[in-house]
């Protein structure tokens, strides 16, 4: 099993930090729709978000196993990893496909927290999940690329210095495969915003800092290109297995938080002269949700293990994300039901976490697309799109 002594130290370490950002902290931010700046700064300064950056670049050089535990614990403590996880995984593209010069320039500053790479711009309003159809273009003009187009749901932009951007560099009708002709750029947001990039925040159901982006002749120096021109989509896909697994771990953290809260409440709340937890009608949904979470957790460890051994983790990572997102949602539902009317009151935090965990079945990557991956890639069924 992967739960070795080092993992416990990581759990304890993250929990100690999170103890300073309690439910009241998150509740208050949620009410104000504000970004948890203090929490993000603390996570960054304590080095947690640089877990997977190699030691040579100032990170801790840990694997996906350890990284997943960090995000799991944030959610397990009642927090929201969606505010920090970008800093952990958006650097994968840079690490894997960036030039030595780009890595040396950015990775140490990402590790120290001096620079934030919290954002990745892929999704577009008119094409959604069908990424290869994206309309944003980056056209080379002399010593620069010029970007035009639109993105939507791009998170943490207002609290990031850099963004990974996917844009089409060769028109679709000039490439052999629709997955070709797209490229990855590392955009310096501090220079871009107001100079060809406009950011418009999207009010949403969860307190998630996410935005519409409008590119109007944004000029990027040539050295913003990561890897080879035209190979960007492949690079994005390569980072997804780790991302899926990390998200699965966040869901597992949520699930455990819901179950713990629900069990405590079920033991304390007395109606009909006994704790509500004495009724099997209350017990069974909690037991069921717990079982689902633990099963999802096994798949998450499997994905971590394969990934850290350098093997193909695609199927496991997708299945882990599917199981975990579903399990956390079931746990949320069982918890809300256990709390009765009180689950709807903000001060118990259940309704906030309930909203937050629901997101994971849609973003990043909606459940249907995982099913489609497993059906076609794992089971070999004919392609539907």
């Amino acid at each position: 099993m992967l739960e070795h002594e080092g993992i416990q130290a990581i759990r304890d370490g993250v929990r100690n930090l999170c103890a300073q950002y309690d439910s009241a902290y998150w509740r208050e931010l949620d009410a104000r729709k504000a970004f948890p700046e203090a929490f993000v700064a603390a996570m960054t300064n304590a080095g947690w978000l640089a877990a997977m950056i190699p030691e040579a670049y100032g990170g801790s050089g840990l694997g996906l196993t350890e990284a997943s535990v960090i995000l799991e614990e944030v959610n397990r403590c009642g927090g929201n990893s969606g505010t920090v996880h970008g800093q952990m995984y958006n650097m994968f593209t840079l690490l894997r496909h960036g030039s030595e010069e780009q890595k040396a320039r950015y990775l140490p500053r990402l590790a120290s927290g001096e620079l934030r790479l919290q954002s990745m711009g892929v999704t577009e309003p008119t094409t959604g999940t069908d990424t290869t159809q994206l309309k944003t273009t980056a056209v080379r003009q002399g010593d620069r690329y010029v970007v035009n187009g639109q993105k939507v749901w791009i998170s943490r932009i207002q609290h990031s210095d850099l963004m990974i951007l996917l844009a089409r560099t060769t028109p679709r009708d000039q490439v052999a495969k629709k997955s070709e002709g797209m490229s990855i750029f590392l955009v310096d947001l501090r220079k871009a915003i107001g100079h060809g990039l406009t950011v418009r925040p999207i009010a949403n159901m969860v307190n998630h800092e996410t935005n519409e982006l409008f590119f109007d002749n944004l000029e990027l120096p040539l050295d913003c290109l990561i890897g080879e021109e035209g190979q960007g989509f492949k690079y994005i896909l390569a980072g997804l297995n780790a991302e899926r697994t990390l998200i699965a771990a966040e869901c597992i953290g949520d699930g455990r938080w819901f179950i713990e809260r629900a069990c405590r409440y079920a033991c304390d709340r007395v109606v009909f002269d006994r704790p509500i937890g004495k009724n099997q009608g209350v017990q069974f949904p909690l037991a069921e949700a717990h079982i689902e979470i633990e099963a999802a957790d096994l798949m998450r460890w499997r994905a971590c293990e394969l990934y850290d051994r350098g093997e193909d983790a695609g199927t496991s990572a997708n299945m882990a994300k599917y199981l975990a997102a579903k399990a956390s949602w079931e746990a949320a539902n069982a918890c809300l039901q256990t709390y009765g009317g009180f689950g709807f009151a903000n001060e118990y935090d259940i309704e906030r976490k309930f909203r937050e965990t629901r997101l994971y079945q849609v973003a990043p990557i909606s459940t249907n697309l995982i099913l489609s991956y497993v059906a076609e890639r794992t089971l070999g069924l004919p392609r539907s799109f």
Binding site: E5, G6, Q8, A9, I10, D12, G13, N16, L17, Q20, N45, A46, G47, W48, A50, A51, S60, I70
Partner: protein, 249 residues
């Protein structure tokens, strides 16, 4: 200046403690354990002394089962330099702990020993005092401020009447109170570094200490659950109830 800090593995303060059905103790099976909060404050104080350039080396010692190494590693991650684990699965009472620490003090010859004023499991509040007596060192207990001044240390103590500041000759024993400092949390790079710091394991026998308990626990019981209170409508009603029902005024 070398500082020795003692840390204890106890039930995590967040855990709701359960008494064993046979009333012989509390149930430790599958219970989350952690460093005693007063010991965390002791480690923090030592680390601050090192950051100020007053302390040059911090040695952290823990007595307990193999798993107590987790608490030593935590202290190393917070900034201690090396660890000593006195490994035993036996019950260790305050006097035996003090004797073991005295043996470590004899070997290590620290200028300052910092302990928590009590551990949250047994609340004895005596190990530091016993160590000071056994080692013939002055003691400053319940410290809310510690200022090293040459070969002396000024310790501000929290006592019932307020604050008392005493001056002790070094080497000395200090026990920490809650308001001494606010412990930091370990960063990931420091947790990684802690794995590589030296940790020496010894047995009570190596130190020539006999662990036979001097006290016998007769019975352990959970505190009575508090009954629900009542609400009163007015001051008159409250006074009436205090007079005629509770009969306390």
């Amino acid at each position: 200046m070398k500082v020795l800090v003692a840390v204890k593995r106890v039930i995590d303060y967040n855990v709701k403690v359960r008494v064993k059905p046979d009333n012989t103790g509390v149930d430790l099976a599958n219970v989350k354990m952690a460093m005693n909060p007063f010991c965390e404050i002791a480690v923090e104080e030592a680390v601050r002394l090192k950051e100020k350039g007053v302390a040059t080396e911090i040695v952290v010692v823990s007595i307990g089962p193999k798993a107590a190494q987790e608490q030593i590693r935590t202290a190393l991650a917070l900034g201690a330099d090396r660890g000593i684990h006195i490994e035993t699965d036996e019950e260790v009472q305050s006097l035996q702990a003090a004797k073991l620490l005295k043996a470590v003090v004899d070997k290590e010859e620290p200028k300052l020993v910092i302990l928590g004023k009590q551990s949250i499991d047994t609340d004895n509040n005596q190990t530091g005092q016993m160590l000071a007596a056994l080692a013939g060192m002055p003691q400053g207990t319940f410290a809310s401020e510690v200022v090293v001044d040459g070969d002396k240390v000024n310790v501000t103590r929290e006592v019932d009447g307020g604050l008392v500041t005493v001056q002790l000759n070094l080497p000395a024993v200090v026990t920490t109170d809650l308001r001494l400092n606010e412990p930091r949390y370990a960063s990931l790079p420091n947790i990684m570094k802690a794995k590589k710091k030296p940790l020496d394991t010894q047995s009570p026998a190596d130190l020539g200490v006999d662990l036979t308990p001097r006290l016998t626990t007769l019975k352990v019981e959970a505190p009575q659950t508090r009954k629900a209170g009542i609400k009163v409508g007015s001051v008159e009603e409250l006074v009436d109830k205090l007079k005629n029902e509770a009969k306390v005024i």
